[in-house]
Structures are given as C-alpha cells and as structure tokens.
C-alpha cells in the first residue's frame, strides 16, 4: 500500500498489520527516549485546510517520534487564502521533496485527488476529508477497543449520533465490519444518510433498545458547524433521546466501554459524568492515536518506493 485514503481499502490482514505495529509503537510511550530512527531523513507535510488540534498534533508527534522532518501547513495564513489551488499547492510540496503528505480538507475526495492525480509522488494519508472518511481515527478506535475487548470478531459496537456528517462513523463502520464486528448505527432519521442499506451495518432510531447488548458505544460529536438545516427540534430534545448520561450508561454490560472521537460537547451528546467515568476511554484514544499514526507512517514511508510499486 502506498496511500491510506479510505478505511474501506484495508483488507483484514492489512488492518491487523497496522494494529499489531501500533501495539509495538505504543510501548515506546513508556520508554525514557521516545524516539525511533525509522523515518530519518524523510519529510512529512501536515497539509491542513481545515481546523484541527488533536489530529494535527497527533500526526506531528507521530512523525517526530519516528525521526521524520515535519512541516506544518495550515490554510490560514498561507497562499491558499490568496486563492492558490490544490494543484499548485501539491506541485509546491512535490518540488520541496515531501515523502508523505497528511491531508485534511473540507471537501470529500481531496486526498484522493492528491494521491491519484500525479501532481506529486509522495504517499498521501487522509486525515479527514469533508463528510467522507477519517481512516486513522477508525484505526485508533479499533485499536482502543481491541486493547479492552480482545479480538473484535463478533463484538457488538454501537455508533450513536450525527452519522450524516460524520467521516468518523463511515470509516469506523467500514473498518469494524472488516475486522468482524457487528456494528449498529443509532441516529435520528434526519441524521442518517439516504443510502444506509449499502453500509455493512444495522441501523436503529432507538438508543435505549441497543445499549443492553453493546460491547462498546461510540458517541459522535454533534457537528454544529455543519448543522445548516433543522435536523432536530432542539438541542435538549436531542440530548434526551440520543445523549449518553449516567442512567443510560447503567444499561450497558459491565465490561462495555465508551468512546468519543473528540472534541466533546459535554452536556449534549455525552454528559460530563459519563465522559469522566471509568468506562470512558476517551483520553486513552488520544494516546493510542499517536501509536496508530506512527504505525501508518512507518508502514507507508519506511520502505523503498521502487519495490513498493512492483509489489
């Protein structure tokens, strides 16, 4: 594999290879010297057209721990605000010798365009494109669940909230079903995409009915910046029907864990009590994110390009 554009592109073996590699990368966090020489001399560009703190910092930490040189590019204060096109930006990066480009863009498919257009030769990692996909988030979620639940084969995972606008949900459904989990998506009818039958998961409008047989529940952020329509009557009604509070959490089986990709709207989709409870693995997801991104960058960038293409 040369690029990571979609969680759906990963076979089960490839996904497991990334997760196993991340397991080794994670042990680095306990060492006095948190640095590996694997990507020495390689350049990774963080190309962020959309605001992000944790994903950009996570990729930056991952690349630096692998000894790569990191260049951060954010659209604000760059030539993009002067009207530069994606193509010209890509050609600039190519001329600077970027080996890997981590791309976050507000438009679905932008990383795909970067990878397939021939504008640049480096590897492209999708760090979230529009409402399409966010594969490294799905990988870190699967990694976190695997550390708590063991194999995901046959595990029941419930994803709750704004599925319509969520790239996290789409990537997770694709990856988790590849890994053998049974995924249920719970959302108000207005926040489900129209083509749900093509997704490898079950759907439901009823959160309370799904919780009792769930091994892991993932709460999605209500994306206020994309809410340009009346998707639900009021924030309070959403919270009443689809928010996770301590009473709903009590319905979960004893071993079940609670995930959230962040940033959280405390009091909206998740109550503060749940977010700070012992079942919540939200802070751990951030730690695991660095390990997953190290694994992805290592597997995409460490080898020679020539042999990769023939393989």
């Amino acid at each position: 594999m040369k690029h990571l554009l979609s969680a759906g592109d990963l076979s089960r073996d490839e996904a497991n290879l990334i997760l196993d590699t991340a397991e080794e990368m994670r042990s680095l966090a306990d060492r006095p010297i948190k640095k590996l020489p694997a990507l020495r001399g390689r350049t990774v560009v963080n190309l962020f057209f959309e605001d992000s703190t944790r994903t950009r910092i996570s990729f930056e930490a991952a690349a630096k721990r692998l000894s790569a040189d990191v260049i951060n590019f954010s659209a604000k204060g760059s030539s993009v605000s002067k009207g530069e096109s994606l193509k010209d930006t890509a050609l600039t990066l190519q001329a600077m010798g970027a080996d890997g480009v981590v791309c976050r863009h507000g438009s679905s498919g932008a990383p795909h365009l970067l990878a397939k257009s021939g504008w640049m030769t480096g590897s492209v990692v999708n760090a979230g494109d529009g409402t399409h996909e966010h594969p490294t988030q799905a990988l870190l979620d699967a990694f976190t669940m695997r550390r708590h639940l063991g194999s995901l084969d046959g595990r029941r995972i419930t994803i709750v909230g704004d599925v319509l606008h969520s790239r996290v949900a789409r990537s997770n459904v694709l990856l988790l079903s590849t890994l053998g989990a049974e995924v249920t998506v719970v959302a108000p009818p207005t926040l489900l995409p129209v083509n749900m039958t093509s997704w490898p998961c079950a759907t439901s409008y009823d959160l309370d009915g799904a919780l009792a047989k769930t091994d892991a529940v993932m709460m999605l952020r209500v994306q206020r910046e994309r809410m340009n329509d009346a998707f639900f009557p009021s924030a309070r009604e959403y919270t009443r029907r689809y928010g996770l509070d301590k009473y709903r959490m009590a319905q979960l089986p004893d071993e079940a864990i609670v995930l959230h990709p962040g940033p959280m709207n405390r009091g909206m989709e998740i109550s503060a009590e749940v977010a700070d409870s012992t079942r919540s693995v939200i802070v751990e997801q951030v730690t695991n994110g660095v390990a997953i991104r190290m694994a992805v960058l290592y597997l995409l960038l460490s080898g020679s390009n020539e042999e990769e293409q023939t393989a």
């Binding site: 594999m1 073996d13 490839e14 497991n16 290879l17 990334i18 196993d20 590699t21 080794e24 990368m25 042990s27 060492r31 006095p32 010297i33 640095k35 590996l36 020489p37 694997a38 001399g41 692998l66 290592y298 597997l299 995409l300 960038l301 460490s302 080898g303 020679s304 042999e307 990769e308 393989a311």
Partner: protein, 198 residues
C-alpha cells in the same frame, strides 16, 4: 504495505523437510546452549547482573532456553526478554516495509546490567549493530555481550561474539538455516546452496 510476514509461521502439521546438509542436530544444539549458559555464568561470576535479550524471531527462543539452563544451574532466574531491531536496520530505506516484532524489556530495565544479546546466526554483524543502537535508546547497560548459536563468518563490521555455539566456515553462496522446535517443529542447523529452500 506488504502482506504480513506469514512465511515464518510454523506448520506443525507437515513433517520437517530437510533440504541441505545438517551440521548440528538437536543434541548438538542442546550441548552448545548448555555450554553457553555455563560460560555466561563463569564470565560474569554468577547470574546477578545478567539480562538476556533475544533478537526475534529465533533468538528469542534461544534466549529462553539459555535462561532455563542458567536457572537450573544457579537456582536463580535471569530476566529474559526480546529486542526488535527492525527500525534500527541500516537497510530500512532499501527494502519494502516490514512488520515489527515484539520488544519485551524486563521490568527492572537494563541500566547497570550486563546485557547478553542472543541471536541464531552471526553473519555480516549488521543486525547486532542495529541491536546496539536499539539498546542505546532503552538504557545504559554496564556491558553488552553477544551469544550466537552459529558464527558463519563474513563480517562486514567490527563485531565479534563472546559466546559461540559453533563456528561454521561457509562460502557466501551458501545459506545457513536454524530450525527450532518452537517455530519449525525440529531442532537443526542446516546448510544449503542459495536458491534451495532451507
């Protein structure tokens, strides 16, 4: 991303297949490891400072076997672990990416200890150079020693082993393969011409 390295996975269902000449059999390997265990104890005046680190994949099993022998002789267990050197190799940018092996450093760490690296075959010495770099990122041992089951010569770096199971003069066109019951269903060291599957 290349497919997972399943080529090294054992297949116990099939009887071990020999191609190539057997230069050490199971009892030769056993005697060599017993001697190495004694030499480690003798040289370090007991097991106290010793930490054994095997280099995956076969060095890990060899380290555990040496550890068991030291335990039997001294009645004292030796911290034993594994050290993956994949990311420290000097050919990392030249080959397709490889999956990582498990690194397991004993809980007490390696600071101030005598680390004995254990590997199956000593050849160019590049793996050991990578291992020395990897150790430097983990701690500062008092000393590092090297134990190998087979030394086949042709060093490309100024590295030598402290404990050698068997010195095996080879030519560069030959291929040395170590089989261990943990992975291959049998104990043997084989030598064959390159190209022939060991």
């Amino acid at each position: 991303m290349s497919p997972a390295q399943s080529a090294e996975q054992p297949e116990f269902t099939q009887p071990p297949q020999h191609s190539g000449r057997e230069v050490l059999d199971a009892s030769d390997i056993s005697r060599a490891l017993t001697r190495i265990a004694h030499e480690i104890l003798e040289r370090n005046r007991g097991a106290d400072p010793v930490v054994l680190l095997g280099i995956p994949t076969r060095g890990v099993a060899l380290a555990q076997r040496v550890s068991a022998r030291i335990q039997a002789v001294e009645g004292q267990s030796v911290p034993t672990g594994s050290l993956d050197v994949t990311m420290y190799r000097d050919d990392i940018g030249l080959k397709p990416p490889r999956g990582l092996e498990h690194t397991d450093i004993p809980a007490d760490g390696i600071d101030g200890k005598v680390v004995v690296l254990v590997d199956d075959v000593l050849f160019s010495g590049r793996t050991i150079r990578a291992a020395l770099d990897a150790l430097g990122d983990i701690g500062r041992p008092r000393a590092v020693q090297l134990a190998v089951l087979v030394d086949r010569g042709h060093r490309e770096l100024p590295i030598r082993a402290d404990y050698v199971g068997k010195n095996l003069p080879t030519s560069l066109v030959e291929r040395v393969t170590v089989h261990l019951t943990e992975y291959d269903g049998e104990d043997a060291v084989l030598i064959a011409d390159k190209g022939a599957k060991g």
